[in-house]
Amino acid sequence: MEENHEEVVTQQVASHDDVPVFRTKDLSVFYGDFRAVRDVNVYIKAREITAFIGPSGCGKSTVLRCFDRMNDLIPTARVEGTVEYHGVNLYDREVDAVEVRRRVGMVFQKPNPFPKSIYDNLAFGPRLNGIKKKADLDVIVESSLKRAALWDEVKDRLKASAMGLSGGQQQRLCIARCIAVEPDVILMDEPCSALDPIATARIEDLMQEIKRDFTIIIVTHNMQQAARVSDQTAFFTTEVNPESDRRTGVLVEFDKTQKMFSNPSDSRTEAYVTGRFG
């Protein structure tokens, strides 16, 4: 069954570039009884950068974490609706979350390099995929670091601990670690919120570089960042939840970034992007 899925996926990747990488249908995520976000319908196109923006607690990270089944790690999390990845519902019983995560990588808010050497951080993923020969690993490590614009800074100390890098370098290392397994999609959950403006600019440049090869979804608090880097933008907000006094996230508007920031259809989007709320 799994193999079948894989074939279908590969065929679709090859033949229909315009078919969305992800499409959600009426996606809701619950934490226990609490509905964190409801009725999200988005489609993510290949080799584009899609930004999720919105105020805190609007569920944008929660939705992002559905795309690689990372919410599985939270015991109380539950999903309704569907998340289709190249036409396959990720929450189907037969889908193996580990296989999904090999294709959909993730970069987290706080840089989380493994407490090991730079080299081992990069080689971990490829080793999981059965690449054992040192020569092969060396090539992957070098090319991944180059694509993440980190090679020149670390090439002389690949055996040094990754914990010794600066915050911005650590985050680029995490991106390189992601790239090293050649994923289809890279999810970024506020990747620059712990970084200074210079490091942020480097990550943004890097995103433009790698979007030729990867589909990218980025969650960001920073509207200017969304405007700068993304092709599509989804704006989420919170609304009073009839079931409890906590607020549930909703998708307000989803469109081309240019339109979202110049001529949004929804007045709430306009209020947010012009800085009048949130």
């Binding site: 990372m70 995560r101 987290f108 989380n112 407490p115 993923g125 999981l128």
Partner: protein, 315 residues
């Protein structure tokens, strides 16, 4: 007016403000608390020092007179001049090895299951609470358990009242401690490490083996070493499962035969045995044996600290 005005804080001029922030009342309560805390620390250290000085003083005849002889003599509770600790040291080391081999892998595996795999179920929570309770069970109860299971029921395998039965009893005794400390070490590993590994497509086991366990290793090591020093200090359960207190004859038995067949003793059992005898001679022997046990435990703990630092540096 400037942005921050002195008058806002009740002083009318800059000079008044200076006076106020420099001549405030001393934090008397804070000082008292600090001194009380320091005093409690002093009392604790004083007790320890008194203990060691007292032991040294009483053990002096043995340490000064026949220390080498004392180290190399066997257990003998009838003649203080012949009494020694060599068999007891060997017994304690053998017991420690059995504890390491049996309880560490078992306990760490249990902890990994409880923390990494079973954390969702109610049953797991119940088990976790019970493991904590088990750690509080008095050691003599484990002695009874050891007598019933390892000496009587499984006597065919353990050989009855042997060091193997003793080692297994101590392993069961420290198992809850190992599980608890290993669980805590695993829980202290940040979720971001797990997410990072899973984010590049690691399975749960790959994540645990490559990242969670190595990150938790220093904590696990410290906990297990402390468990080991507890095992090294137990006398009561060993008395029940065959620890020899009188005279231990090893005769011509080889080391292997002694382990599988012969009787055994250990440092705390020997101390118990010597402490029961009358006379100043045996008092000195008891104190000397206690000092050696103390040194043994300090060495184990020191080893734990050294190993922890070593592992941490490798990160």
């Amino acid at each position: 007016m400037a942005l921050s005005t002195p008058s806002k804080f009740g002083a009318s001029s800059a000079a008044g403000l200076t006076a106020r922030i420099t001549s405030g009342k001393r934090d008397v309560k804070g000082r008292v608390v600090e001194w009380v805390l320091l005093a409690t620390l002093g009392v604790t250290l004083l007790i320890l020092v008194a203990l060691i000085v007292n032991l040294l003083d009483r053990a002096w005849p043995v340490l000064n007179g026949r220390f080498g002889d004392f180290l190399s003599s066997g257990l003998d509770a009838s003649n203080a001049q012949e009494a020694g600790v060599w068999q007891a040291i060997r017994g304690t080391l053998t017991l420690a090895i059995i504890v390491i081999v049996v309880s560490f892998p078992l306990g760490i595996a249990c902890a990994v299951y409880l923390e990494e795999y079973a954390s969702r179920s109610r049953l797991a929570r119940l088990i976790r609470i019970n493991v904590r309770n088990l750690a509080g069970v008095p050691s003599i109860v484990y002695g009874i358990l050891g007598l019933t299971i390892f000496v009587k029921f499984a006597g065919g395998i353990t050989g009855g009242r042997t060091v193997i039965a003793g080692g297994l009893t101590l392993s069961v005794l420290v198992l809850p401690v190992v599980v608890i400390t290993a669980s805590e070490a695993l829980r202290a590993v940040p979720r971001s490490i797990r997410e990072g590994a899973m984010g590049v497509g690691a399975t749960q086991w790959e994540t645990v083996r490559s990242h969670v366990l190595p990150s938790a290793a220093p904590g696990i090591l410290t906990g297990t070493m402390l468990a080991l020093s507890r095992a090294a200090g137990e006398a009561a359960p060993l008395l029940l499962v065959g620890g020899i207190t009188g005279l231990l004859r090893t005769g011509n038995l080889s080391l292997w035969e002694q382990i599988t067949d012969g009787g055994f003793t250990s440092m705390p059992v020997a101390i118990f045995s010597y402490a029961r005898q009358t006379g100043a001679d045996f008092q000195a022997v008891t104190a000397a044996a206690s000092l050696i046990l103390l040194v043994l435990v300090v060495v184990i703990n020191g080893l734990a600290i050294w190993l922890r630092n070593r592992f941490e540096r490798n990160w």
